[in-house]
Point group: C2
Chain length 309, copies 2
């Protein structure tokens, strides 16, 4: 176990983490926090693993949409099946970029395809399909398997927190069951500690038992204010440590700590074009607030000796 | 810890439990289940603690409704404030009885009062108020504190399962945060392993942070098919052991096990008028199915040496 933050350079971010952990674990100290209250929540895309040029989950959806268009030619003329069939990354990337600019129109079309793509599939079959995609596939530009797209410094942080009595959750805008497929293997986080978005599920009786199957409609989009609400729903406590990298993480970070508990808020800044990607789209308000509120910014370029294993 | 099921009489129910636990924990055996998959889910009202003459949570709501009617006289002419102010247990009990007969009309009126009763309250204040009610109050007919309304044989079962590598969840139709207020103290189950109903929550920024507060509308009613869906959402696995006592537990029990895992389904039968209550209303379909499918029925009268501590 890398309980020593070995991929972190000495610097303000590393010190902020180790100082905070020391404070909340020093018995008798002013900021001591009982282990049961040591809850940490971390975003996934762009915080625990890479999210560029597009979120890894999108590739999984596109593969399924392309297979549907293959079977049903009429779909090839409609978005998002059209873009999926023709590898139209301009349209696809545009849907995400527009979302970051506050225009969800194409993202909704994309998500409309997503809910139809998996409708009728049992939650267990979806989990198996996600796992297969993630174990077999590789990143389109980084030339590495998806499971190797996680950031070792952040995985070390998870282990470091656990070694100091924290319970660690993923709180992602991405699909909950997609992440669950590999969360234990990649992050050491079991399925029950993955919070994320989900399509609606239905209960269905069958011969000698029952299943839950995906419906053709969304349920929760776990981003922005919903992240804070869902953390409470799932955990029943405020976190004392949170990490994110996008504007949609602001409410989760604000909710952290609260009137009676200390807090550490971490913001991952993607500023390393050589080793990963450099971008701030979708993170402008977050970086602004981090500066104003004194939240801890982690520079990929300066704070990490290793970005990928 | 009562890891020995000391309040259980020798008999079919006790043997079914110990045999099942032996099978799933015997390495190399046909029914061996990896510890990570040993998930148990138990209903609360009527399964872990008493639910008659009315669910304990209802008293908490009524107290708050009566206080509202005190402040706002107009409310005294409307249900459910009227019944709450005048201790009209016929109306209140009727709402529940009608629900068990498939008529939710009065229950909806009652729940409509419930969502208004706590609107605007932060989740943490609600948790504190629930805890105070449960620690101070006592059962209307049994003459014991609410925390002493839990069944020792079932608490022993929780410890017994944990001692054999199970992770135990409450899956209740009752309010999630109400149960969380005392789940650790009474059952040794932490907040994050309580699944239940909830009103909708909203994120709200305030000076120097943020809170989640109750809205005046319901979110999840965790009963019937929803129980199975919510167990998947929260846990990401099927349970292998489930316990319930009402028709609304059938889907949870059917979902238990599944194609690749063994299952033990427990049904608590309230047949002890001397020590607790004897009733089968709201449990007719369940008892029918239990007989048809060979599920394990626990007789309060015959299987437990102690009903309350």
């Amino acid at each position: 176990m890398d309980a020593e933050l070995g991929s972190w350079r000495d610097g303000a971010a590393r010190s902020a983490i180790t100082d905070f952990v020391r404070r909340v674990t020093t018995e008798g100290g002013d900021d001591y926090v009982d282990p049961v209250e040591r809850v940490a929540v971390l975003d996934n895309d762009g915080t625990l693993w890479t999210e560029k040029p597009m979120q890894i989950e999108i590739g999984f959806i596109l593969q399924r949409l392309a297979a549907m268009a293959e079977e049903t030619p009429d779909l090839r003329e409609q978005q998002p099946w059209k873009a999926a069939s023709t590898d139209d990354y301009d349209w696809l990337g545009g849907a995400i970029t527009k979302h970051y600019r506050g225009d969800d129109s194409d993202l909704k079309v994309l998500m409309g395809g997503f809910v139809r793509a998996f409708a009728g599939m049992s939650a267990e079959d979806y989990l198996a399909a996600s796992g297969e995609y993630l174990r077999r596939g590789s990143h389109p530009t980084l030339g590495r398997g998806f499971r190797q797209c996680a950031y070792p410094p952040m995985v070390e942080l998870l282990r470091y927190l656990e070694a100091h009595g924290f319970t660690v959750y993923i709180a992602s805008g991405g699909d909950r069951d997609f992440i669950r497929a590999i969360s234990d293997e990649v992050y050491g986080i079991p399925a029950e500690r993955v919070i994320g978005s989900s399509n609606a599920l239905a209960y269905q009786e069958d011969d000698g038992g029952a299943s839950v199957v995906y419906r053709a409609r969304p349920d929760v989009f776990d981003d922005g204010p919903v992240k804070a609400v869902r953390i409470w729903s799932r955990v029943g406590r405020r976190p004392i440590l949170a990490a994110g990298n996008a504007n949609g993480d602001i409410p989760m970070l604000e909710f952290t700590g609260g009137p009676s508990l200390p807090a550490l808020r971490l913001v991952v800044l993607h500023d390393d074009e050589d080793r990963e990607f450099a971008y701030t789209d979708g993170a402008d308000e977050l970086l602004d607030r981090a500066e104003r509120r004194g939240w801890t910014v982690i520079s990929v370029r300066d704070d990490w000796t290793t970005v990928f294993r």
